[in-house]
Symmetry: C2
Subunit: 201 residues, 2 copies
């Protein structure tokens, strides 16, 4: 018998399986992924060293899908595209977010993506000592708005009288329209402020 | 024998138990909470209708701790205090965040807190049709920066050369100082923009 031409397990396969489970709102630990792939948990440990390793594989695969690959001459265009892509990535995998945030990033491809962003901002003229903070603000922003996009159609369901909230809800948008409107407001806030920091330097 | 003077189970006790488990980084589902409280899972179901109900109880108890109770005349002071409190609440319970975000808010005390905020913004002179978006931006902001505060001391550990990132990391702040600096930058961005919206109306 010949060996199968494609391996049943690889870092990519494991990362993708974790993402598929996360998207489906299911647990994505070692055992769940092994079950999903029809292999033993022990086989997984040949490729990955527990949950931290799985999270990093998922981050790498997430990036493979949502990575922004744009000419880097114009920081505004680059940052905007990145925010939109990351927002969607987090919205598609809300339960993964705390794990992604809780773990130091070590994979070369992940580091490279952030190095791209740091370089774009440096080339764009931002003060070097502000760039890491700006990146953290962009990340926090994408995470917050990604989770907002993952919110249910109705954020509140007030059953009692209110002074203001019920009135606003009656005329307000719901669902995707609401989330998109909010994101655009947030983006304009952020980009205005980044432009202002650039003008002041 | 007399009945115990304090009940072993109440919505408050269940919500607080869930929060304690979440703060410890442990699972906080029905079974975990029952085990933590030394009761049967079936007893819990006399007080709460599954995981959605538990999440809402946890939200109510979270609010009891982190609720901002300030004079509401000055929206800036109110919004700032609320952002700081919420950021800390989310940082203390990162794994709870996707669940909090994923569920419609129904509890009167939760609705009341958001109604306070909506009223503060309306009284502060913001356009009524923008207030729900502003609240969503504030929420997204607090969540993103709360999770940033929950991040490890080192966000990246690049093992290979980079064009920009490693250089910035060598001179950059770490840990709480980094997170606080980032939050202050984010807050100034946000508050500047809110003030500008007010001036333009």
């Amino acid at each position: 018998m010949s060996r199968p031409s494609t391996p049943r397990l690889s870092p990519e396969i494991i990362g993708d399986a974790g993402l598929a489970l996360s998207r489906a709102g299911e647990p994505f630990g070692v055992n769940a992924i092994a079950r999903h792939l029809g292999v033993r948990s022990s086989s997984l440990y040949n490729h990955v060293d527990g949950m931290d390793g799985i999270v990093e594989l998922m981050r790498v695969r997430l990036l493979a899908t949502y990575r922004v690959d744009l000419p880097r001459e114009r920081w505004e265009e680059y940052v905007l595209a990145m925010l939109r892509a990351q927002r969607q990535a987090y919205a598609d995998h809300p339960s993964l977010v705390p794990l992604l945030v809780g773990k130091t990033m070590t994979s070369p491809t992940v580091v490279e993506a952030y190095d791209d962003l740091a370089t774009v901002l440096a080339d764009g003229g931002f003060l070097e000592e502000e760039i890491l903070s700006i990146i953290a603000v962009l990340d926090a922003f994408a995470i917050g708005f990604g989770l907002d996009l993952a919110a249910p159609d109705d954020i509140w369901q007030p059953n009692e009288e209110t002074r203001t909230l019920r009135r606003l809800l009656e005329s307000g948008e719901r669902g995707r329209a609401r989330a998109d409107h909010t994101f655009e407001l947030g983006v304009s806030v952020l980009m205005d402020s980044l432009r202002a920091r650039l003008t002041n330097t």
